[in-house]
Symmetry: C2
Subunit: 594 residues, 2 copies
């Protein structure tokens, strides 16, 4: 059951029917050469690669896991070879700057490749995935020399990169970090400390790994304002830039964990390792935001990946598995029983997965356009896109990973008892999905970022560009049977923002008390907008008498499902988020258990 089929029809629908990427790419000079034909050809190649090369390693990678032996990590069988093929085909350089060996294709196109790679085999995809974040960080904050030395090698895929933030006593609260950077006579720094949870921290795929490390200078102020960013290569470089001797970096152990067994989660020991300051001193956390935003959108995609994977597997099973008869009479009268897809509750689970996978894909496609637009020559356009993306990123990260995990669980449920058995792959999908709500900022942290830092600090201004876009859509499409419900949902969202804001002025604890519910409500409403948009586009296409009728009807039906059976979850959230922080805060710490 390791099969994965890229949902190319849906991807194409998003790109060229729903979001008009043809015009979009043309509007940005540096991406103007990306035609639908070029994009289509690249995506077809990608589909072939990930369906045939990395998807078949997903289950074996989980079973085998990574092996640590005296500081050296060996990845599961086939991972290294797949990575070699990936590099040979030029995938790492795709959406990176041409100056350092990139192909200069739009980030939005890269994101679809990330979706394919991640759905096919999330653990494997994290090796190039983390590298991607490290590359962006060096590209944005590195000196020309650093770019020449490190970025070009990462862009070609010869080396990979990692991000070293977390320490055992601090994950969310990076202000407490202790890793030290001592200035050396040659201008470098001696980095000492221990980092944990370093994804892809060590592996056998490349001869060098470029670690981006948060550490403190000797004179640094305490807290988050005293953190600096360093490049620390696994192998020191010779003068010609080639790999020389070992740096003082080693992998102390790897974690035994619930899922993503194919990816090495490393404890990294830095023992006076040679490091190089990147960006200004004590501004490391600010520089890190570049990476964090990339990583958060990447993790948001993990939600889509697990929803899609769960959906594909359970759909196949639901069509094949014969069990019981339909409540409205046999649908497979010549067989011993009906396929379980006839049962309404099985359909409810399948459509939940489908509406989250396709809905999440729409949200990600929309965000990817904004990522492209940040590269626009028009500063105003870039600024607007940046603000919208800042608003949507925590929603995408937390909401999509939450519903991705839900979808993965429906995947298990559709299989009945077989869902619990490893060979079907459904349970692996749940285990792999579980991390997505934790790393790159938990759901709770995303929710505080959304509600506290973004919505309330701007007094709701930050959400207006999106809600105004929704209003415009609703006004223009009043005949759409979903629109009145969307109007209500958007009004509810605004009302709740106001109510939570008022409550927060009285008591700051109300922010944390409401935040996750608020984030989830935001996600449900945002996805409702995209589903209404998709249904409208599908109806317009049907009305025009063009296209594949069944495809567009299914879009409309999935939208109807979403509005009928998912969106009403907001009713409960709207009540709970303003039920008062007291019901959370009143209990004495000692009274939680007796």
């Amino acid at each position: 059951m390791a099969d994965y089929k890229v949902p190319m029809r849906d991807i194409q629908f998003n790109l060229f029917e729903l979001f008009d990427y043809e015009q979009h790419w043309q509007s940005i000079p540096k991406f103007a050469e990306t035609t639908p034909e070029l994009a289509g050809a690249i995506l077809d190649e990608g589909a072939k690669f990930f369906e045939n090369v990395t998807a078949p390693l997903n289950q074996s990678g989980d079973k085998e896991g990574c092996i640590w032996n005296e500081g050296v990590v060996t990845t599961p069988k086939g991972f290294k070879e797949a990575y070699e093929q990936y590099v040979q085909a030029g995938w790492p350089s795709m959406s990176h700057n041409v100056e350092h060996g990139g192909q200069g294709l739009p980030p939005s196109l890269g994101q679809i490749v990330t979706e394919m790679s991640g759905t096919a085999n999330w653990s494997w995809s994290m090796y190039p995935g983390l590298s991607h974040g490290a590359m962006n960080t060096v590209a944005e904050h590195g000196t020309e020399e650093q770019k020449e030395k490190y970025l070009t090698k990462m862009t070609s895929g010869e080396w990979t990169g990692t991000m070293c933030l977390t320490e055992s006593h601090c994950g969310t609260d990076l202000g407490m970090l202790r890793t030290k950077a001592e200035p050396q006579a040659d201008g470098s720094y001696a980095i000492s400390g221990t980092k944990i949870f370093i994804s892809s921290g060590d592996h056998d795929m490349t001869e060098n790994i470029v670690h981006i490390v948060l550490a403190r200078l000797p004179d640094a102020p305490p807290g988050t304002k005293g953190i600096s960013l360093f490049i620390v290569p696994k192998m020191n470089l010779a003068d010609d830039g080639s790999v020389a001797d070992h740096n003082g970096v080693s992998c102390g152990s790897i974690e035994h964990k619930m899922g993503i067994h194919g990816n090495s989660t490393c404890v990294m020991n830095f023992d006076s390792a040679k490091g190089f300051l990147i960006g200004p001193p004590n501004r490391g956390l600010n520089c890190m935001f570049t990476f964090m935003n990339t990583a958060r959108l990447g993790t948001a995609m993990q939600g889509v990946a697990h929803a899609e994977m769960g959906f594909q597997h359970s759909l196949e099973y639901a069509r094949d598995r014969l069990q019981m008869r339909s409540l409205s009479g046999p649908k497979n009268p010549n067989g011993p029983a009906d396929p379980i897809i006839v049962h309404p509750d099985v359909r409810r689970m399948l459509l939940t997965q489908k509406s989250f996978a396709e809905g999440g894909r729409m949200l990600m496609s929309y965000c990817a356009k904004l990522v492209d637009l940040i590269e626009s020559d028009d500063d105003e356009v870039a600024k607007e896109a940046d603000a919208k993306l800042a608003f949507l990123t925590p929603i995408a990260k937390a909401f999509l990973t939450e519903v991705g995990f839900e979808s993965a669980n429906h995947g298990v449920q559709c299989f009945g008892g077989h869902g619990f058995i490893s060979e079907w792959g459904a349970e692996q999908n749940v285990r792999d999905a579980r991390i997505s709500m934790l790393y790159e900022g938990t759901t709770g942290i995303q929710a505080l970022d959304l509600l506290g830092r973004k919505v309330l600090m701007t007094q709701g201004e930050i959400m207006k560009p999106l809600t105004e876009e929704i209003h415009k859509f609703c006004q223009a499409n009043e005949a759409n049977p979903l629109v009145s419900q969307l109007v209500d949902a958007t009004k509810l969202w605004s009302d709740m923002t106001m109510k939570v804001g008022m409550a927060a002025m009285e008591n700051p604890e109300e922010v944390g008390a409401a935040s996750v519910d608020y984030l989830m409500l935001s996600g449900y409403v945002t996805l409702a907008y995209f589903w209404a948009l998709a249904a409208q586009k599908a109806q317009d296409t049907i009305d025009a008498g063009t296209g594949d009728l069944a495809f567009y009807q299914a879009k409309i039906q999935t939208a109807q499902f979403y509005f009928g059976r998912i969106l009403p979850r907001t009713a409960g959230l709207a009540q709970t988020m303003v039920s008062g922080a007291d019901n959370l805060m009143a209990m004495d710490v000692d009274s939680f258990a007796f």
Copy 2:
């Protein structure tokens, strides 16, 4: 983190304050000798045993798993020795009939021991747990000779039992099963076929295992009306009842699965194995209901177990882990950060776990009383208890396992990234919990049982004893600030029953379309009743000036949390369940994916 502390104060509150078990046991002649002192002494012993003997094997059992080697299953290190101690202490016989070696204690007391055993180590608890179901089946349907031969040995714990229902092509749809039973000249039957997913199907703890097997007689009608029940021992018995030679039963393999690694999930091959008919021919499924009801309540308890385990672990972590400052100012000013229990969202997760663990325990305590009452000398009392239990069993099974899984997941979330790492135990709790929504009838099957077979077939009559009890409570406690919300919730439940019933008359698919939402709503309202009851009892005790104030205040605060932040989930369910089956059924099977 394998620690488990029996929540004895809460158990005692349920037994002797909330549900007046003292009077209850006295009202049933056969249990009249069970005084609070006796029960307390037994439970204290149980707490010692499970806290110290089986809980420490929970994590190692998961890591090691069971090993299959040429038909022989070896359980994880220490499991066999723990079982020996368990038998020596007399636990298997506790709530079984004295005629066959039992101690004749009330099932309700046995259920608390099941909770302790299951929370300490669910995998281990399934060896005696399945045996318990097999014992009940033989006790109810076996001949005197069968009881003498098999039941006494299972009651003493010398042997264990299993239930062999599922085949690879049929789990839910037992009517399709193929295992054959050929009558033999000596009155026995030759049983041939393959069963899968047989929990505790083989192990190294006892010299014999008594399998209760569903199979077909040669002349049996097709479907569920042609299934008979057989006793098939692993080892044949000599004339004196001792173990003789191997019967034709063997374990073909064990499953690799998501969780409960310490329990063997076996493929059992029956190759002309000697079996003995139990109960009337072709009535096997009816006889099996005895077991199924026991098993469903047992699995319901699994929901409580994982909620409790998740709660205990994450509470400990949330009190210790320092990360970030409280939004309302530092609470641990001398430390580097505040313990995460100061954060409202962490409290939201902890209180969700707590309200489900304690709420589930109340529901189970209530059900256990009904189980006891079935043994009442008063037929009317027994009949009423039976009907109420029939109604509550699918709610308890499906709702408590769903919220138990949710709670286990909150457990992971409270740990942040550490929740994903095996050594903390939080992720094992999720993996172990996941099976509970699948076996003994999936959530979907329980929901159809509740709504289709029970509520709608009786036109709602079956729910009336409970809803009338709730109404009486509300009338008697109008001053309780939770009561008006409980009145509304109960009315909503009745209204939704009516609405779904009306819709189902038009279209039978509406039953399946509404069933899971209906079940979940039923669960939320039922638990709301128990939380209101608990809050009232706590308030009464506080008003009387007796007892430990902090304990009773925490009960009231948890009830307030439940009403404020959990019960409102019913608002969404009430909308989705009547959103029309069309949004599920309209899509063509071929249109789910393109």
